[in-house]
């Protein structure tokens, strides 16, 4: 299963059998009425789906967008879209008879979501998290531990998402027989990118239905932030066939593209292999993977999901980037104009609209995936904004 030339299974032979097993189980259960009913039931009663599509009038006005809508994934149980995927994969792991769940996490949202799903099903859960990220997303570390998960710090390199993912894969290679690895984004070896995209596509399906009901027409544009790209692919899958809808993915420009400290793999990387799939990748001329940089731990990743690489090459999706500073401005703007504190990740999508939203808004309604809430970011954002208590 590839997306054009991208994707594949560039992993040690040890886990090939497990990937085959996962692919077969997923093909079976996605068609299984009982499985689908159980997942849909949990998405409704446990996660709180469908999430609202909220019209942000004051923020829209300040961006020059008359009809700006936020898809409120921040209102999902656990505070982000990550639970859509984690719940589906843990349910699948349970059906496959796996007893142990592992995950990587950057911002901690996926770790919390996985720890939550594991608690719900009474499974043992171990989350790998970079040391740097554990400091900047402390709240989520505490939440994971409260949920009964073990959080294993990763000290390698800069102690961020790339390193946590590598360590989770090494665990999986070692314990593959009884362990399911819940990858948190639309990355990794096949079939993971497809499974994650499909589990997240509920975002785009709901949004399409909601905007048609509210506006009687398709949006002019749908915008989402892209780290690995799971909330974005979930949103975009609702509109890929609607050719009039402009799709925009916003990566992290970090301290500015010119500084080299950023996470904009689609704009400034070239194809290479990281974590099992071929995709755009920040790397040096020898192919050594570069360290990404972003104020948001969830976008601090040098790779990106393979489907995004394909959508970039075909031109169906436009990829842009926003700096740490622009994201902080958008973080404040949404908080103070709408009473919604967004995750720093999601603030990148808004930051793009602050820059270019007026032109899009002139064409019709604009929807943004508000992928998560910002509670986890208050200490870091508060410090960056000089808020003194």
């Amino acid at each position: 299963m590839r997306f054009g030339p991208y994707g594949g299974r560039y992993v040690p032979e040890t886990v090939i059998g497990a990937l085959d097993e996962l692919g077969a189980a997923y093909s079976r259960y996605r068609e299984d009425a009982e499985f689908v009913a159980e997942l849909d039931g949990l998405l409704a009663s446990f996660v709180g789906r469908p999430t609202p599509l909220y019209r942000a009038e004051r923020l829209g006005a300040s961006y020059g967008i008359e009809r700006l809508y936020l898809k409120r994934e921040d209102l999902c149980h656990t505070g982000a879209h990550k639970i859509n995927n984690a719940l589906g994969q843990v349910l699948l792991a349970q059906r496959m008879g796996k007893r142990r769940i592992i995950a990587e996490t950057g911002a901690g949202q996926h770790g919390v979501a996985t720890a939550t799903a594991a608690a719900l099903f009474g499974m043992h859960c171990c989350v790998y998290m970079g040391r740097t990220d554990m400091h900047r997303q402390r709240l989520n570390v505490i939440r994971m531990k409260m949920l009964g998960a073990e959080v294993r710090p990763v000290d390698a390199g800069t102690g961020t998402l790339k390193h946590a993912t590598s360590e989770a894969i090494r665990d999986w290679v070692t314990n593959v027989v009884d362990t399911h690895y819940v990858i948190g984004s639309a990355v990794g070896p096949a079939p993971y990118p497809e499974i994650v995209a499909e589990l997240q596509s509920v975002i785009g399906r709901e949004t399409r239905k909601q905007i048609l009901a509210l506006e009687g027409r398709r949006p002019a544009a749908a915008v989402a932030c892209v780290g690995g790209g799971s909330n974005a692919i979930g949103m975009f899958r609702g509109f890929l066939d609607d050719e009039s809808v402009l799709l925009v993915g916003v990566e992290a420009a970090g301290e500015g593209i010119a500084t080299g400290h950023h996470g904009a793999s689609l704009e400034f990387g070239k194809p290479g292999v990281l974590h099992g799939s071929l995709s755009y990748l920040l790397q040096d001329e020898d192919g050594q993977v570069a360290e990404a940089h972003s104020i948001s731990a969830g976008l601090d990743y040098p790779g990106v999901g393979p489907e995004h690489s394909y959508l970039r090459d075909t031109g169906r999706v436009r990829y842009e980037s926003a700096t740490d500073r622009e994201a902080l401005d958008a973080f404040v703007a949404l908080s103070q104009s709408e009473g919604i504190i967004p995750a720093l990740e999601s603030a990148h999508a808004l930051a793009f609209l602050a820059r270019e939203g007026a032109a899009l808004g002139a064409e019709g309604p604009v929807v943004v995936c508000l992928s998560g809430r910002g509670d986890k970011d208050v200490e870091q954002a508060g410090a960056a904004l000089g808020i003194d208590v």
Binding site: G8, R9, Y10, V11, P12, E13, T14, V15, I16, G17, A18, A156, G157, K162, S166, I169, R170, V173, T174, N175, V176, V177, P271, G272, V273, L274, H275, G276, L278, L281, Q283, E285, D286, G287, Q288, V289
Partner: protein, 267 residues
Amino acid sequence: MSNGAARLRAAFPADRAALIPYVMGGYPTVAASLDYARALAGHADILELGIPFSDPLADGPTIQSAGQRALESGTRPGDVIDIAGALRGGPPVVLMTYVTLILAAGPDAFFARASDADVAGVIIPDLPLEEGDAIRAAAAAAGVAIVPLAAPTTTDERLAAIGARADAFTYLVSVAGVTGGEVAVDDRLRGFVDRARRAIPGALAVGFGIRTPAQARAIGEFADGVVIASHLVRMIEEAPTHAAAVAALDAYGAELAGALAGATRAS
């Protein structure tokens, strides 16, 4: 020189298992690692030479940190290929590298350079059998063998498919896991090698977690080759001086070779 596969096949002695020690190229520096490679080459049947990579998924902490040190000292893939060139005349060299480094260089350029340095084969732990057609074609054109890997979790059907492609030897991963653990020489390992033997023609080398001469000897009784890697890296790490590391590797290489010569081979 071409036909790396034939040179590798010929490197397996008929009467004992082959000794395949590993050196991380560029750890701690390119010049030092060449000395280590030379010390081990005197005892080796095949030498495995690692190209440092930023994100080595199949490696445990020892080889990860050696690779990191090598990168910090400025080692580039071409430098490691040059080490292979400098070892010309010794046992055949197989490079251990991850797939993205080959893609970044361009498969044709990578294998042409490797071939010029007399590299006989390449081990790519993240390139399973279904992937990398362009890489395989470039390797074949340059006469460099791709050494496939098989794991205890590999099904019989896949073992046969791997065997159909193996033209030099096959690298059997002793245990599900990453490099640098501790191998258990037990019925499970014997069972895996037996299963591979039935499906794969040609020599079978076992690696991952093999440290001691006793382990090497025991595995040498039922496998065709024994790879020792992380333990040798740790010896370099722990040696007080460069000269002491060279001397220790030379002595340990001799001990390992002696152990394999003393192994009673199952016929």
